[in-house]
């Protein structure tokens, strides 16, 4: 009943050594660069009804009005009003350059980076159909240009810029691929000069989820695809997309697609990741000025589901009940709603849907760069309560998802709250239970215990009888 009045706290990080005026100017320029028919239609349609708040997990979990979605892009809107508003021409007449204040930008850093997953749930609630997720992404461009983004995210971006991937260099990649080959006794095609399919990975898979990499490889072998990893184009995640660094976003996407063209591939496969799907499948066209028609950009979940439907992939029935966490960028914003469900059925699992699920599902809370941003941890944990309740209500035995970021987020939140469920990977379940002539995956030997995958391999054998022990230690802090 009684609640403490919340204090205003300031939390923002500053990157680079810039005078405040330059930060403000950069922010304005970054915002203005994103104004176009879409953003302008959206901003001019808002009637301030507040319904978007009723959809956002951060508002619902905290009840704090500052987490109202449309409020999160206020500096972006303000920049629009200053430069394109009804009285903006007055500034021109008077020879003034209208500006935001540095204080406003600093204050909004938290709202733009910590409290939005760009999950698009609020879009569905808005009577005017305003896509706030897109506007938040647009707004991040200005914030990035101003150097006003969380330290942790900025560091990962720098890594991605300097050494190819937040995971490491092509050299690191080659080493890890060899290591996984040895661990699981599975050949991993690397740097083939020509191949029909270019396969990509997430840093999380390379660091902590080797079993998942082996599983994916096993399925691709099983399907008889001519595929390869490329050590100079292996990174699927896109921290340009998440941070507002548009040059980086473009460079990373172009690197993948150019590589696919170089090796004569007809297909580029996006791994278990959500925003990689958005960046590659839905936003690649903008870097080429035309749709990418010569290469099919496909999601691994989609590839597997289609194989199941074509009768090319079958699994031993796992039985038991499971609930599926819908990764926003794959499902609500990615168009893959049915695909993971096809795979769940193929695994013979009784699917118990959460309330809400599918297009209406709550985000895991880690998307949109929020997981990478440690500062947002406590807020994220509050939002996790909604997910936790939804999972509990299904009473399902398994808690499955198809995105590494969701998995990491949920894994950490489960750890932090002592929730008695584990989060499992759909691809791992397929890899462990597919019916195939492919040689079985070797359990990693003792001694040289591979990262986080020990129990997973064991689980692979037992998976037939249910609960694959996919519990593992929380992902190592980078």
């Amino acid at each position: 009943m009684t609640s403490d009045t919340t204090e205003k706290h300031r939390s923002f990080d500053k990157q680079r050594d810039l005078p405040d005026e330059v930060r403000v100017e950069n922010a304005m320029a970054g915002f203005v660069a994103e104004f176009g028919p879409k953003a302008q239609s959206w901003m001019n349609a808002c009637v301030r009804c507040g319904l978007c708040a009723e959809a956002c997990h951060f508002y619902l979990a905290t009840g704090e009005e500052k987490y109202t979605p449309i409020h999160k892009i206020k500096p972006f809107e303000d920049a629009y009003a200053l430069t394109h508003g009804p009285f903006s021409w007055l500034h021109g007449l008077l020879g003034r350059k209208p500006k935001l204040t540095i204080e406003e930008l600093e204050e909004w850093e938290e709202l733009i980076y910590d409290s939005c997953n760009m999950c698009g749930r609020c879009t569905l609630a808005c009577p005017m159909g305003i896509d706030i997720a897109s506007l938040v992404k647009d707004a991040r461009r200005g914030m990035y240009a101003a150097g006003l983004l969380p330290d942790r995210l900025a560091r990962i971006v720098r890594n991605a810029e300097k050494q190819h991937s937040p995971f490491g260099s092509p050299e690191d990649f080659r080493k890890t691929i060899k290591e996984i080959e040895r661990e699981y006794g599975i050949p991993l095609p690397l740097d083939k000069p020509k191949a029909d399919v270019l396969m990509t990975l997430t840093p999380e898979a390379l660091e902590n989820r080797h079993f998942g990499v082996a599983s994916m490889a096993r399925v691709l072998h099983h399907l008889g695809l001519d595929w390869t990893f490329c050590s100079d184009a292996f990174e699927a995640t896109n921290f340009g997309y998440l941070s507002g660094n548009m040059e980086l976003q473009g460079a990373l996407t172009v690197r993948l697609i150019d590589k696919a063209r170089e090796i004569g591939a007809s297909m580029l496969i996006v791994p278990e990741c959500g925003h990689a799907w958005g960046a590659t499948r839905w936003e690649a066209a903008k870097w080429y000025g035309a749709p990418v028609d010569d290469i099919r950009i496909r999601h691994i979940v989609e590839v597997l589901a289609d194989a199941v439907e074509d009768g090319k992939l079958e699994c031993r029935p796992v039985g038991e009940s499971a609930t599926f966490h819908d990764p926003c960028q794959q499902i609500r914003r990615g168009g893959l709603e049915e695909k993971p469900r096809i795979l769940m059925r193929a695994l013979g699992m009784e699917l118990r849907e959460m309330d809400p699920h599918g297009l209406d599902a709550f985000c895991c809370g880690g998307g949109g760069g929020v997981l990478a941003n440690e500062r947002a941890g406590p807020l994220r944990l509050k939002a996790f309560e909604l997910k936790k309740r939804a999972v509990e209500e299904t009473g399902a035995d398994h808690f499955v998802t198809s995105c590494n970021i969701c998995e990491m987020t949920l894994g950490r939140d489960i750890e932090a709250t002592g929730f008695d469920k584990q989060i499992e990977s759909l691809i791992d379940l397929i890899g462990a239970n597919m019916i195939t002539d492919q040689p079985p995956l070797k359990a990693p030997g003792r001694g040289a215990k591979p990262k986080g995958a020990g129990k997973r391999a064991a689980g692979a054998k037992k998976a037939g009888k249910g609960r694959s022990a996919t519990r593992r230690k929380p992902a190592a802090k980078k």
């Binding site: 009943m1 009684t2 609640s3 403490d4 009045t5 009723e54 619902l60 009840g63 009005e65």
Partner: protein, 353 residues
Amino acid sequence: MAINKRHSAVRLLWSLFLLAFLMAMPALTGNDSLLAQESSAARAEPGPPNTLGKRSDAEIWHDLRLGAGGIANPPTGSREAGAVINAEGWEWAKLRNPEKSPIVHYGAWGLLAILGLLVLFYLIRGPVGHGEDSGRRILRFRLSQRVVHWSIAFVFILMGLTGLSILFGRPFILPLIGKEAHSILLTAAMQAHNLFGPIFALFLLGLFVHFLRGNFPSLVDIKWLLKGGGFFGGHAPAGRYNLGEKAWFWTAVIAGGALSVTGFLMLFPDYLATRNTIHLSELIHAIAALVMIGFSLGHIYLGTIGTRGTLKGMVDGYVDENWARAHHDRWLEEELEKAESGDQARETAEEGA
């Protein structure tokens, strides 16, 4: 998401809309046809029979007043078919005479006196406080309560201003602004007053259901009264609402109800009422309006500058715990107990939002 409780309130609002719609329908349709019916009736019917004087004058007057049938034929829709002259109208005219009416006279003095008392009280006692703020807040009014309250407050002020113009226009405003401006003011006031009337009635229903809980009399009220409501120093105990507030609630409901009913009668006279009921309605309407406006002055005073921190409760929904301790200690205790016995803190925070 603890939003289901709000749901029922909204359902209610919706049914009220429908109700108002149904109430207004038949009545409104009749309004236009009044003149047409009256004149055609007058043309079509023959004059009063027995013009040769076979009956006594007294008999004829009796018939004219009470409608013996056949003498005249006023509008068919009317409840008083047959009556031509209304004798009680004389009394009514005296009461409503703009220059000499006791209603106008006492009404004006009464309102001025209340205003004077409030100013005096403010000058002597000043705003009533509750010591330091505790920094802890507690939910007092849900969002739907706040919306209903301010919606009716808004409409009430509009109705009050336009209504008072009609009541006090001739004696007080006309001399100030002249005949022409006054006639413009009055037609404007009357149109607005008529149009907002049904909206007021609708919102009043909303007010009733949203504020009924807590407004029933209880034993604490006597203690509160004995302590002078705490207005003259000392602490007066109270539950969710104190005796003064309860009195205001029931005044608003009863006087407001009377205003609504009599207002409807006057909006649709030929369908709903006889001339006498209309006259009575006008009197009741004026008196109820004065009572409600008078009381509202006190309510508004206490809700704004009279007590520190009260307005916040009706705007944000939350009040400071020390405010509650000073003004509504029993209620605070109950709420704190509820909070302890259940994990309700989160829910109420959401409701308040």
